[in-house]
Structure formats: structure tokens, C-alpha cells
């Protein structure tokens, strides 16, 4: 976490710098099926974050030595657009984005039924178009929707959400200033139905009790975000599903 500055992150009424309560999320908007070429896609606006996710596959894994004879591999590329941040980000992968890509891939592999597609690759591309703290969680949330949108068999959707500590208060979903000047950040990937935690990182300084409180806050919030993910997919496909049913009945 960043240096402690002379900046008041929690005011005397217990409200945060952007006016939120400690357990309050930033506004989140999710849309499914937003790109034409990709097999599946999703767009997430989360506070001031703007993130696109696209999925291609299952397709032939390249290079071939990456292929696994008994299952698909899930390859994730998390990338920040040069203009997504205050100081221009140099294009191309840096150590941070390689790490985020790896843990996101591991979180998604947990739900994707990779055993159905031996030797293939399911490729997930997360593009951060505008960044404002919490992009890995928003990216994971978007990627889950994009996978479902691509029709990829998967056990469930994964939700990404972070919590942390600022001015000695445990808070949900850190904003930019809180991320920069707060005391701890705990990004999580969570499946609300099964209670499985599939991504977890932490940096900063928290007591064990604070950590557990933060995680509980995230798990609670994840249920709401999970609802938004499913709503986005329903909105996109409900009408189509109605016609498809006609056809399925017709053909049988």
C-alpha cells in the first residue's frame, strides 16, 4: 500500500472520501455480448473503471506444446490500454499484468469444464480501457460473463471484489485514493453459491479480525455482483431463448 499522506480517507461521520459508507460498493454496470468478432464478450463499468473482456475458443491451442492431452487450457491476457491511467502506460505486458493474468486464469480454470475440450485453448482477453483501482476484480467479473456469453461450459460464474482497510476502518471496494493511501487491500475471486474462494491476494497491514471482516464484506457484496452478472446475460439472451425453444420443440 502507498504512503500515509495528510489525506483524510474517512470523515467524522464515518463516510469515505467519495461519500460511500464502509460496506458500500461503487456503482456497477455489466453488459454481455458487446463485441462482434469474439465468441463471447462483456463490458463492465465499475465506478470509474471501464473494462472489456473477450473470449475466443475453445480453439486449437498455440503453440502446440501448450496443449494438454486431457483438457483445455485457459489462457488469460490482462492488459491496460496506454490511456487508461494518469501517466501513460507503456504498451505491452509488464510484471504486474503477467501476474494478474496468471491468477485470473487459475481462478477461471476452477469453474471452466476444461475436461470437455482436450488439446484446446480457451483464451480470455481483459482490456482495461480506464483504470481507477480494482481493475483485476472488475476484470475477473467481466471475464466470467464473457465466458458464459461464449457458451463455454462452466460450473458457475466467478465474482471479483476487493475490500481493505483505510484510516483503521475496514471498507469494501477501495477507490483510487483509498488504494493509494490506505492501509490494506484484499482482492478476492469468489463463487457465492459454493462459497469457494478462487482468487485471493493481500497487501498491507491488518489484524486477523480485520482481515476476516474484510473478507466477509467481500463475500456479501459478491452475492449482489453475481446477481448483476446473471442479469446482464439474461437481458441479452432472454428473448433469444424464447425463440430457440420454439425451434428446439419444432425440430424434435
Amino acid at each position: 500500500m502507498g504512503m500515509k499522506m495528510d489525506i483524510e480517507l474517512i470523515d467524522k461521520n464515518g463516510l469515505r472520501i467519495d461519500g460511500r459508507k464502509p460496506e458500500e460498493l461503487r456503482p456497477i454496470k455489466i453488459e454481455a455480448g458487446v463485441l462482434k468478432r469474439a465468441d463471447g464478450s462483456a463490458y463492465v463499468e465499475w465506478g470509474k473503471n471501464k473494462i472489456l473482456a473477450a473470449v475466443y475458443g475453445p480453439r486449437e491451442a498455440h503453440p502446440r506444446h501448450l496443449q494438454k492431452s486431457n483438457k483445455a487450457i485457459v489462457q488469460v491476457r490482462y492488459n491496460m490500454a496506454p490511456f487508461s491511467v494518469g501517466d501513460r502506460k507503456r504498451p505491452g505486458p509488464d510484471r504486474r499484468s503477467v501476474e494478474i493474468s496468471k491468477i485470473t486464469s487459475e481462478a477461471l480454470e476452477h469453474v471452466v469444464m476444461t475436461e470437455l475440450f482436450p488439446r484446446s485453448s480457451i483464451d480470455v482477453f481483459i482490456e482495461v480501457l480506464q483504470a481507477n483501482a480494482g481493475t483485476r476484480c472488475a476484470g475477473l467479473t467481466a471475464a466470467s460473463v464473457a465466458l458464459a456469453d461464449a457458451g463455454i461450459p462452466m460450473k458457475d460464474l466467478v465474482v471479483g471484489v476487493a475490500s481493505g482497510k483505510v484510516d483503521d476502518v475496514v471498507v469494501l471496494d477501495l477507490g483510487k485514493e483509498e488504494d493509494n493511501y490506505g492501509q490494506a487491500d484484499v482482492p478476492m475471486g469468489y463463487i457465492p453459491r459454493t462459497g469457494e474462494i478462487v482468487l485471493l491476494q493481500m497487501d498491507g497491514d491488518m489484524t486477523q479480525e480485520e482481515l476476516f471482516k474484510a473478507m466477509e464484506m467481500s463475500m456479501d457484496a459478491a452475492k449482489y455482483i453475481y446477481g448483476l452478472q446473471k442479469e446482464a446475460l439474461r437481458k441479452r439472451y432472454e428473448m433469444i431463448a424464447r425463440e430457440e425453444t420454439e425451434e428446439i420443440e419444432g425440430v424434435q
Binding site: 468478432r37 490511456f83 501517466d87
Partner: protein, 268 residues
Amino acid sequence: MSGNKVVSEILRDYIYNSLEEGKRIDGRGYDEYRKVSIETNVIQSAEGSARVHIGNTDVLAGIKMTIGSPFPDTPNVGVMTTNAELIPMASPTFESGPPDAESIELSRVVDRGLREGHAVDMEKLCIKEGELVWIMFIDVHILDYDGNLFDAAALAAMAALASATVPASQFADQYPDYDLGEDFPMPINNYPIMSTFVKIKDVILVDPALDEETVADARLSVSTDPEGRVRAMQKGLNGGFSYAEIQDIVRKATEKGNELRDILMKSL
């Protein structure tokens, strides 16, 4: 563009056969663009931004600015860098990794059109001659690829520039010895617009869609300004053009440039 999947002979012949009867496969006229739309100021972290759709082709351009030293041979002008990325999100044929020749050509052609067209008054981006100038990065992100990236990228870059604000006040603390002044709009000097044509057999088409691009023999992109002056060109692919064809394309590019410029001006 980048290593497409194998094109079926049938599709190739179908495009040829349709053109023989004077028809494009999507029903457009030879001189007709797909639907073009421009949306500016879509990214708040950028100093200027624009999203451009040409048909299903979808690109996002963002401008970032910082302050630094001028090049020694041009001490009184700002610095402009253009970078276009064919990110793998946009097409099953784009791959991750360092920019390939396609990306680099695209970046350079977009750059040339803006630079030679004097889109930005670069002298107004000089803070103190020989010491300090504005450094501008134009980054173009390709989100969905359905042909004609040159025009989409050039148009997005131009629209992003025209909507940009130079963030002078942000840098005041960092450079107390200089007078940076208040934030000011990007000093736009001119609106060069690029228009791209391909040749398939002996037919010349504007704004190639992906399928047309994959069977095209030759390509020519022409950047023109509002007065119809030619500011940059790039010929691509391994086919050739006759002199008469080039003349024809250059004239049409001016006309098409005007059409696109109208759409651009309405979006600002």
C-alpha cells in the same frame, strides 16, 4: 491484415463473380462507406479520446500528454508519438506479443497522415524553446476487426486529438520555473482524413470489409485535407495500380475525406 485463416476458394470466387456483375457482397456501392459513427470523450483518464465504428470495425483512440525535452533538431515544437495495437481481443487472427509489422505499419501510416497534414499546431506545444515541450502520445486500440483499420484508426486518432485538452494546470507544481498557463484545447490546425481503397481484379472499392480485404490485390490509403491537398499515402499488398487508377483513387479520396470530415465535425 494479419495472418487470416485460409480463405476458401469459393468465397474468393464469389467476391469476384459478384464484382463482375457490378456488385459488392454486402450490397454497397463501390464508392460507399459502411456506416461510420464517432463518439468523443469516452475515456476520462485520457486527455482526449474517441471511439470509431466503421461497420463492425471498432477502434478506440486515446491521447496522453506529458512534458519533456524537445528533439535537438526541432527545439521549438512539441513531440508526437503514435502507436496502434492490434490486440488479440479484436480478431481470432491477432496474436499477443510485441507489435508485428502490421501494427507498426498501421501506427506509422496514421502518424504520417496527422503529422504531414499538420493536424496539430506543434509550435503551440512548445513551452520554452530548446528546453521544454509537450509530449503527446496517440494510442489506438483495435477492439473489433472487420476490415479497413487504416481509416478507422486515423479517424479515431483525429477525433481524439480534436476533443483533447492539454492538461497544463496538472503540471504546474512539477515545473514551477515555467509558465504553463491554464488548461487549453488541443491546438488543432487542420483536419486531414484518410480514405482507403482496394483493388480486386480490376475493380476499385472504398472501405474494404474484412472479406474484401482478404482477397484484395492492392490497397491504397490517401490522406487529404479540407482543401483537397494530399498529405500522406501508403500503398499496400503485392498487387499493382496503374497511374490512371491512382489518379482516380486520389480524386475519390478527397471526396470521401470530405464526407468523413463532416461526420467528424458533427461529433465534436
